[in-house]
């Protein structure tokens, strides 16, 4: 079987050690909350937060995945596992394909540098050579619609303008796996539509989209598969409409 792009998580558990918390101040009966991971104590009585627990997921080409869950349910941590930032405490992650993480538009964005300089910098962070960035600079510039602003320092930009810049570069690297955390909704209506079109084109080229959001409408529009996280566990997994229904029921 020829697997070109995809990832597989097997029994993935992520525990964050918490060094600043006073372990004595935490009650022995472990708190099980609806928001946030489980707070636990290991054998050396060190406090840790279990951000993900026994997650098993497999995605392949053309999958559009929506991650939903309450604050602190592990969406961002899961995205970071997909991105290869965290090697799990337990379990295994297998991944193949160029990842474009779009969690935070400020990555490699230097406010003192101009838009063009930032395109170059972010492109290099995402693994392009200078020649490749130059080749695509025109396309990136056109997508941002920022025009002459690209020659201005980025501190003169609004949040939405920075977002345009980041998204343009992030999707221009021809990623195979696009990981997004919520912020697509930050742009103005016209740009959101344009961004969604771009994401569509991307997924149609047989990429994988993973989008974390609290916004059911956004997920319904952009995803086909849903993952509902609850306190670090996968509570539901399947067609997006059913997962969203489950999410709705959970909140009532």
């Amino acid at each position: 079987m020829n697997v070109e792009t995809g990832f597989q998580l097997t029994g993935v558990t992520i525990d964050f050690p918490v060094y600043s918390a006073d372990s004595r101040s935490l009650k022995n009966d472990l708190l099980r909350k609806s928001t946030g991971g489980r707070i636990a104590r290991n054998t050396e009585s060190r406090v840790s937060v279990r951000a993900l627990e026994d997650v098993n997921l497999t995605f392949g080409r053309g999958d559009r995945v929506g991650l939903i869950g309450a604050n602190g349910s592990g969406k961002t941590t899961l995205l970071r596992v997909f991105a290869g930032v965290y090697q799990p405490t337990l379990g295994r992650v297998w991944r193949r394909g160029r990842v474009s993480p779009l969690f935070d538009w400020s990555l490699g964005i230097d406010p003192g540098a101009t838009g063009y300089e930032n395109i170059m910098m972010r492109g290099k962070f995402l693994g392009l050579t200078p020649a490749e960035v130059r080749e695509r600079a025109g396309e990136i510039a056109a997508f941002t619609e920022l025009g002459d602003y690209l020659a201005m320092p980025v501190y003169t930009y609004s949040a939405g303008m920075k977002l345009r810049l980041a998204l343009a570069v992030g999707t221009c690297i021809e990623p195979e796996i696009l990981l997004m955390d919520e912020w697509i909704g930050l742009g103005d209506a016209a740009f959101v539509e344009k961004a969604e079109r771009r994401v569509d084109e991307f997924v149609n080229r047989a990429g994988i989209l993973v989008l974390a959001s609290h916004n059911p409408a956004l997920l319904e529009r952009n995803c086909t598969t849903g993952v509902l996280l609850d306190a670090g566990r996968v509570r539901a997994f399947g067609p997006i409409s059913e997962v969203l229904r489950e999410y709705g029921e959970m909140n009532h």
């Binding site: 995809g6 597989q8 392949g60 080409r61 540098a113 910098m121 566990r233 509570r235 399947g238």
Partner: protein, 293 residues
């Protein structure tokens, strides 16, 4: 053929059981060992020279953006320091300025590199938190970036030494070329120091403070302002000071002297030992860095 078959998925009941998508006729290969991953990280980071090469320059450019002299402010402030202290201490120690000024110039320029590599090595991963938590880059990229930035600063400061050397017509001769392997060894050590101190400091936040105090004391214990000849019994005050050997290896050739064999052996020993310890620690704890920062 796609890895996952959407049709075969089902929504699980709400008991929280873990799900896997339907029929996967695929077993991923077993992951590489931690040692292989650590090795790949260090080599892969070095290969990403385009990235850290640019980031190093970018740091310097941004720091001096809109200033008239740009990074040559580094040169000028180093020049002022060396000129001022050089004349003062030559007077205090009652030594010849022509002999003392090149010595203190070489010492300050080199100590700047050495101490910045060590103190900035402590915060190398802590400062890169935003990048580390987003992109799966080799972590060593941040160490190369830090080392390269300090090398650029060193190159600007070195102009002061060259000016002083020309002024007092210091001719290092062929021995002068020995500064190249010395400097290369210093940089090689800068990388392991950054990897090791960065890793330990990410976990134990007291380490940067401890290192800061040690470096402050080391500045006075190492012959930078004072000449090593002033120590009557060199054995323990100088030979046990690792910083002295690093200084000697680069400074002596620049001043036209040959560094002692002891210094060569000491630095080679520190390089090997340091890399060995670093590789062992990096193999064990590299993957924890993202959790600690």
């Amino acid at each position: 053929m796609p890895v996952a078959n959407t049709d075969a998925r089902s929504v699980a009941s709400s008991d929280g059981a873990a799900e896997t998508s339907g029929n996967i006729a695929f077993t991923p290969p077993s992951p590489p060992s931690q040692a292989a991953l650590a090795f790949q990280d260090i080599i892969g980071g070095a290969c990403a020279f385009r990235l850290w090469g640019m980031l190093g320059w970018q740091d310097i450019r941004l720091r001096y953006r809109r200033s008239t002299f740009g990074p040559f402010w580094l040169t000028m402030s180093m020049g002022g320091l060396v000129g001022g202290l050089g004349v003062l201490y030559a007077e205090l120690f009652k030594v010849d300025v022509a002999d003392y000024l090149p010595f203190i110039a070489a010492g300050f320029v080199l100590w700047g590199l050495l101490s910045d590599l060590i103190s900035e090595g402590c915060t190398v991963f802590i400062d890169a938190e935003g990048i580390i938590k987003q992109v799966n880059l080799p972590l060593s990229v941040h160490v190369y970036h830090m080392a390269w930035r300090n090398f650029i600063i060193f190159a600007h400061n070195a102009i002061v030494f060259i000016a002083v050397a020309v002024l007092f017509s210091i001719q290092p001769g062929w021995a002068g070329l020995l500064f190249l392997p010395g400097l290369a060894l210093l940089c090689l050590n800068g990388v392991w120091i950054g990897l090791l101190l960065g890793l330990v400091s990410a976990r134990f936040r007291d380490v940067p403070q401890i290192v800061g105090s040690v470096m402050r004391i080391a500045f006075f214990l190492t012959p930078i302002i004072w000449k090593p000849e002033l120590v009557p019994d060199r054995a323990y005050l100088l030979d046990l000071n690792p910083f002295f050997h690093f200084m000697e290896l680069v400074r002596a050739p620049a001043l036209g002297q040959t560094p002692g064999l002891v210094s060569w052996l000491a630095v080679l020993g520190i390089t090997l030992g340091g890399w060995l310890v670093t590789l062992l620690m990096y193999r064990l704890y590299r993957w924890r860095i993202a959790y600690w920062i």
